[in-house]
Symmetry: C2
Amino acid sequence: MFYETHWRSIIKAVSWRIMGTVATALLVFIFTRKLALSLWVGALEFTSKIGLYWLHERVWDRLRFGKKEVRPAVIWFTGLSGAGKSTIADKVYRALQERGLRVERLDGDSVRDIFPATGFTRPERDQHVRRIGFLASKLEQNGVTVVASFVSPYEESRQFVRGLCGRFVEVHVATPLAECEKRDVKGLYAKARRGEITNFTGIDDPYEEPTRPELRLDTAALSLDESTLRVLQYLDKQVLRVS
Amino acid sequence: MFYETHWRSIIKAVSWRIMGTVATALLVFIFTRKLALSLWVGALEFTSKIGLYWLHERVWDRLRFGKKEVRPAVIWFTGLSGAGKSTIADKVYRALQERGLRVERLDGDSVRDIFPATGFTRPERDQHVRRIGFLASKLEQNGVTVVASFVSPYEESRQFVRGLCGRFVEVHVATPLAECEKRDVKGLYAKARRGEITNFTGIDDPYEEPTRPELRLDTAALSLDESTLRVLQYLDKQVLRVS
């Protein structure tokens, strides 16, 4: 709940008063051609109306009528490890933040840092994604736009999340497996190939491609900046319009 | 992010203009004693300033200065099954909602309905409470006050949640076990005694009492309305003050 401080109302009253009084004095002068009279009316108006204006502001701050909120959404990035999800999501997040939007960032790695006990078996991953989806939907219901990036490899889990959310934008960061493995930023593909880690998506656990994502980004063909722009353009056109 | 609709600005301008023009016309009349002149100045002022005022409103809507938000908090009800947590929490939630606060309600039963796979062993309960705490903290960080009611029997899990939140208000609904078992609203104590359900708090799983809760409610001595009032009074004094 936002409310306006008394300082805001006072300074707004002064700001308006300067505009208003100049206009009044000018009008009186045009009609009467008496400079002294115009200035007197102006001076009296200035002092009396500044108080009235302040009062008017305080009453209006209590009225909800016509105060609208930008409708939030859940922007969900899915894709293989190393596909570029987090990087693009970070850029989208900052761009939305700069517009003054209330926005939250949820990332697979950082959430797992807080919950180290979360496993990688199918039921564990499924529950994990569902719970994050529930969190995202609760934020959305409370006016917060969510930028989430999770491997989220199972179609069923993502559909569950879609069902919870009001406006769900599924962004498939569709970097091919070969490209992700070539990059191997965190060295995880090598470990998975050596069998040092198991249940690794793309190697010994499936990635179920989204059947109808709102957006599909081929980062082998698009740069990170181009990908970010695609997402923002989509959001501007389809999702975050201010009516 | 809130923004003001054009309608709000226009109607506010009219509302102010009626006050302002009456004041101006009166001032001109007091100085000149000419009724016709006063009405003419008033009429011209009315038409010219309504546009100026509207413009002024649109510019101010862009300025963040002096727009403050009520600081949110996480109000966490803990206690045995049947202690009265949900009922008191519901009443607190509605009271805060009526004040126009942005507030979310999280309840053990309804969250478990969405996540039926959540178990009742110590690690499962611990993880469950931690995850709910994470959700609550994310809502709080985004300006939402959270009213949560969970058995949350382990001190360690609750301390973890406290650590995540900015302003954590732990409310121990301290109804004695004997009283809860006597009520047995959902018939769960009987089932637990018969061994039909296991890991039931108070019977075959411990309830670790909060060591230093912000509030302790003895619902054996206090009615539900009195308990609710205690919580609201505490929040008004310690937590939700608007500076």
